[in-house]
């Protein structure tokens, strides 16, 4: 195994081997040394929940329902961010919930 070059890279390695991604199947690195983390669907769903809670204090299901009901304001930074993150309305996806 090659030497990890940067503190961030080493931290990412520790992160991926630790509690953040306990079920990670595989970690690979780009030519530039960027770690590429494969998450399971369950891990990705947990990531979406964390991001949604952090951004607006709702669960994914709560946010999706409220957004589709027109209860949240388009143009709000957190709302716009989560609409893209959760892929609401894109390619037939109502949400990644």
């Amino acid at each position: 195994m090659r030497q990890l070059r940067t503190a961030e890279e080493r931290f990412s390695r520790q992160l991926c081997n630790g509690s953040w991604y306990p079920g990670v199947m595989e970690i690979t690195y780009t030519a530039a040394g960027t770690p590429v983390i494969d998450l399971t669907p369950e891990e990705y769903d947990a990531y979406l929940e964390r991001e949604t809670q952090a951004a607006i204090g709702m669960s994914v299901a709560e946010f999706t329902r409220a957004y589709l009901a027109g209860e949240l304001e388009d143009g709000d930074m957190a709302v716009d961010h989560l609409v893209g993150l959760l892929r609401i309305g894109q390619n037939g996806h109502k949400a990644a919930a």
Partner: protein, 146 residues
Amino acid sequence: MRPIAGYPDAFRLARIVDASDVPLELDGTTARLFVEHVIVDQDGKCRTESYSYRLQADASPGSWLIRWEYVRDPPRADYAYPRAHVHVNSFFADGTPVARIHIATTRLPLELVVRNLISDWGVKPRTEDWLAILEESAAGFAAESH
């Protein structure tokens, strides 16, 4: 780049540190650029599903200055805003806030945002031929991407 877990046709580009999205650091300034880009493989072609490029004064999302955003499909049936637009965190002369107004744009390549950061926001390029690199990278954007 790997498919989004559970969605084998979709790819999301973003910087993730400590299991959360974080903006990119920029040379020559304390400002940051948050980049999020979702690409979908449709019939063997890469199509941009959405992007969000957010210039921030610092690492905090609340310090945002400009947001360039795009969604390919309206997220709601009654979504009336231009799907490609920019938000500016400022005020009109009469004090009216601008931040939530969707100012229409065309769909933009990231290269154009980076060019703007260098030309107007004090970001230092790492090479003298940065402009040629960006122009070459962005060439064919309209023809090759969807």
